[in-house]
Symmetry: C2
């Protein structure tokens, strides 16, 4: 099966995630807060990447269902906590009021905590349904997701971003932030997808790890470029563009896409993933 990035697949992703939600119980507000953010018109980039890599390699679809659900729960919790008044203090996301605006500050903190926890409840509860021969690979994939989300991944990236000294324009610190804050979960999506295939080689894993780095950077450099063209560039925000200049970043971005496409050309059945990568590169919003 080779799934496209379309409404059917997005509906399938939502349905799978919904299966792993806890039974609604007292206190209701936490369930409402979790659903509100989890089904808030997210683009499902990370679940789709995992699916596309799995399909490309002929991996087991049921292997990745708990894993992409967990990854999307982690991504969602990170947005809730990111938006908190003590962090970015954002009142809106994707045109909707943020969690703390709707449910209050303490509930938003706990909804984020609950979602991060739910990600791992999901991983554990699905373990018994994983084919015994695939369980070691399954826990390896879950471990990659956990490592990419944590202090040496996304959480570390968040801390670095918060502490970033705009004046220093330190390219190494900026690269760390790009690699960890968004890049880490994309890396987790690609590698967990790859591990759904029982005969993935170490060489293929290395190629896909590099691919995930390219896609993560593409994702963010394209964002940066779009921010420059848009009506509302974020004032004073340090990006690759303020360090390297717009033309150089456009060149980097083109090279990243070429590298990503080159890696994918080494895999059979890579059409959907090549299109998706191109879409990330060429999108205009």
């Amino acid at each position: 099966m080779t799934r496209q990035y379309d409404a059917d697949t997005l509906g399938y992703i939502d349905g799978v995630i919904r299966r792993y939600l806890p039974a609604k119980d007292f206190p209701e507000v936490i369930h409402e807060a979790v659903e509100y953010s989890l089904f808030g018109d997210g683009k499902r980039v990370r679940p789709f990447l995992m699916i596309a890599v799995c399909d490309m390699l002929g991996g087991d679809a049921s292997f990745i269902e708990p894993l992409f659900s967990a990854l999307e729960m982690i991504h969602t919790y990170s947005l809730i906590h990111d938006d908190l008044p003590c962090m970015d203090d954002d009142d809106e996301r994707r045109g909707k009021p943020t969690s703390h605006v709707v449910f209050g500050y303490p509930t938003a903190v706990l909804a984020g905590d609950g979602l991060l926890n739910l990600a791992f409840e999901t991983v554990f509860s699905a373990y018994a349904d994983i084919d015994p021969s695939a369980r070691e690979r399954y826990i390896r994939a879950a471990g990659i997701i956990a490592a990419c989300s944590g202090i040496s991944g996304m959480v570390g990236g968040q801390v670095a971003d918060m502490m970033f000294d705009e004046k220093a324009r330190d390219p190494q610190a900026l690269e760390y932030i790009y690699r960890c804050k968004t890049g880490a979960l994309i890396r987790a999506a690609v590698l967990a997808g790859a591990l759904s295939s029982e005969d993935i080689s170490d060489e293929q894993l290395r190629a896909l790890e590099r691919l995930s780095w390219c896609i993560g950077m593409l994702f963010q450099l394209t964002d940066d470029i779009l921010d420059m063209n848009g009506d509302l560039p974020e004032e004073g925000k340090m990006t690759y563009i303020s360090v390297y200049g717009l033309e150089h970043v456009k060149k980097m971005n083109r090279e990243l896409w070429e590298e990503a496409d080159g890696i994918l050309s080494g895999f059979k059945e890579s059409g959907v993933l090549r299109d998706f990568t191109q879409m990330i590169y060429k999108r205009n919003k």
Copy 2:
């Protein structure tokens, strides 16, 4: 081996937890914040309970090391987030300034997130070292820890506590809070400890689940009673005492201890755990 609740065992617990910390890396502040709270003179009640149950049943000590470390990380993250200005707004815990006072509000949020995440990184990273025949039991124990920490456990209890209507004096809501907010992690400690034994029966598991309920309630009712006797009872706080009265709660507490001790009398080698349960009941601080 039957370990006592003493300085040696507390040192052993600290050493094990330290083994699972991530390598110190940029950004340093998150590592400092994690260590600050994780080694903040905690009483290690949950790790010790897991150890004592494991020892009583002749379980595998290495099986529980990642699990009690994970549980203590979860307990610690919950304290950091509990103390935040938007939650209980506590500046001190165990005589030390709280995380957000020392490291700032955003870092405290992220240190909590990082610790919760680290708990599950720890579980996954240790999986390969678990005897293959014990891995299903290991993931079952990890799943119990995750379920007890989440929306249907501790996080749910926190939400209920926050929303609790003091005037309604609803005994059912109060019982939910006691069962989930503190009780759930104690349940996780006891059950994960029990699963370290390869020949634990379902009947024993049920008895130990009931034991964990008794210990969780003992822990909190004793706290409530001590708060009443102390110089600084928390004003207006709803407890079992304000619902049922001091004398009735003292009676409940004695009955809980008798029940716990009765359950333990059905197990050989239960001396350490009986002493520890009695200590929870008879402590005066």
